[in-house]
Subunit: 328 residues, 2 copies
DNA sequence: CTGAAAGCGCTAACAT
DNA sequence: ATGTTAGCGCTTTCAG
């Protein structure tokens, strides 16, 4: 035996303080009581701490928000998560987190939901129809960093399409036409939105090439292709790909931006510290989290679940990795 | 009214399936039952989900681990956190997280502990004596990324002292003697450990200067000092400071590593993508988290709390930001 | 302002 | 294998 005794209950505090359980309960709920000092002393002496399981059971709510992310150690998600945590803790909510990199998304959601009053799903990968059915028994739920048409839950995303268009416009202003898009996770909403921007850009005279670059081998291949097909600017899915690209280009003695321009996306940290500093898009991760929380909060408080979708704007951050195209 | 009905209880499932509550309970606990199919159907039909508050209350445990970190969006902590999350979820534990950047540490710990079976404190900033008293009523607790002598709880840290010594040895091998340490958070354990290494290095002929560099202004000042006092190598508290230093040096047209060498610490991401790639120390963040979890798990299962302290080794990663000293 | 009592949803003897 | 029953610790009517 480790000699660990059962923790004190409200009953024991009541006895020690010479009042009834109800009085102790009221004391903790902030109601006026006759002898607060006596109670405080008893609580202190016993090391009493309210049992939240009992409380939650009685109250029928947990004051906990469940958040599922694909990778806790990805700065992108970590920032969203922090924003949710800070915003929700302001109103006394706790943050229960699941990293879905190893478990199935479904399962993770299900178990999270069991201990939380509501869920925030970060960029769920499930396809729309699967998500649609899941969301029904997970409710209240809000989806963040993805738009899922048809799913009856608030969805808050970033206008990647417009932002990427902004990046394209910026490069085109500097004379670039043969632009390569170094794509990210193929089936993700974020990637699809960025691709749409290139479709649109054709109308304006851009000559885009889409190259997969989500993993290391693909990236090498993409760089080779870009280097040999007359590409003058590489627009990457995110800062990590941009950073890796620049680093590999350096090894090949190709200078950025003098010989080829490169852009990032998200502005998550490497971008401003790189050499050259990377021109990118500032994705409002904190706003994303805060907005997701406020939507969820409304739902928890009884609002009707609608398919509201919010698209936050993101702005281009011009730095040094894009230069005017060299005159041939 | 939002028309949200109370969620179904085990009782309703029992009635629908034509058995008693106990049978349903057993069904969910994996005991053999006569008619599993019927139960599954009832559960499905009602959309029943076990109420974990009730379960926790009855069982006297939450199967939740509480983790407090100073900044959820710092890759350093995020990696530790992920490791804890993955390891604990393997045995069915949930992860409750608190970001202590805004709240008082004490308060955050207290509220976390209320809903968790045990706590992992990440680099708590409280001083030893405060921590010592707190730990007593938080138990079971484990402290990670810091050693706090006198505190009766397992503590798992990284041997920063030895690692920094390794970095110093590496630079000295390349001829450097006038070495500047760009210090981090002044009162932190991690910073103190690194400083100790410089103390020791004097014995071997190093001529160290300690310069505060925790914020942007200090960093500028430190760089100016280093540039004018004959420093040939800058060893930074972490990769972020190293990266920022290199970036500022570049603006001053000082070449790294040709004119001055720079090292980082932790290897958290910027280090390998920088130009030049940064020589650093690989801090075993994942191991830190896993180890912390296994210590906590033992405590939760009834082990005696002792002041065990574990120091994990970290190795130097030689890259390109340190060069042999230029012959004067 | 306070106490008595009922019950939140679930589990675990105990008896069958 | 199943049903009955007694709480787990707390909040909240309801009476005083």
């Amino acid at each position: 035996m480790a000699g660990s005794k059962a923790p004190p209950t409200i009953q024991e505090v009541a006895e020690l303080a010479g009042v009834s359980k109800s009085t102790i309960s009221r004391y903790f709920s902030g109601f006026p009581v006759r002898n607060p000092e006596q109670i405080r002393a008893a609580v202190e002496r016993l090391g009493y701490r309210p049992n939240s399981a009992a409380r939650d059971l009685k109250n029928g709510r947990t004051r906990t928000v469940g958040v599922a992310v694909r990778d806790l150690a990805d700065l992108y998600f970590a920032r969203i998560l922090r924003a949710i945590g800070l915003a929700s803790s302001e109103v006394g909510f706790h943050l229960l987190v699941a990293d879905t990199s190893l478990t199935s998304e479904r399962l993770a959601y299900e178990t999270l939901r069991q201990r939380a009053d509501g869920l925030i799903l970060c960029a769920p990968q499930l396809d729309d129809s699967e998500l649609e059915s899941l969301v029904d028994d997970l409710r209240p739920v809000v989806i963040v960093d993805r738009l899922a048409p048809g799913v009856r839950a608030p969805q808050v995303g970033v206008d990647f399409y417009a932002a990427m268009l902004g990046l394209i416009a910026h490069t085109m202003d500097l004379g670039h036409r043969r632009i390569a898009y170094f794509a990210g996770p193929p089936r993700s909403w974020g990637d699809r939105e960025r691709r749409r921007a290139f479709e649109t850009a054709k109308t304006f005279g851009a000559i885009p090439t889409i190259l997969e670059a989500a993993d290391s081998d693909q990236l090498d291949a993409a760089i080779n292709t870009a280097l040999s097909d007359g590409t003058t600017a590489i627009l990457s899915f995110d800062d990590f790909i941009a950073s890796s690209t620049i680093s590999r280009l350096r090894k090949l003695d190709v200078s950025v931006p003098d010989e080829i321009s490169v852009t990032g996306f998200d502005d998550v940290g490497y971008a401003s510290l790189s050499n050259p500093e990377i021109t990118t898009v500032r994705t409002p991760l904190g706003d994303l989290g805060e907005r997701a929380w406020s939507e969820l909060r409304a739902l928890i408080e009884g609002a009707e679940a609608t398919a509201t979708s919010v698209l936050l704007p993101a702005e281009v951050v011009v730095r040094a990795s894009v230069a005017a195209i060299a005159k041939a």
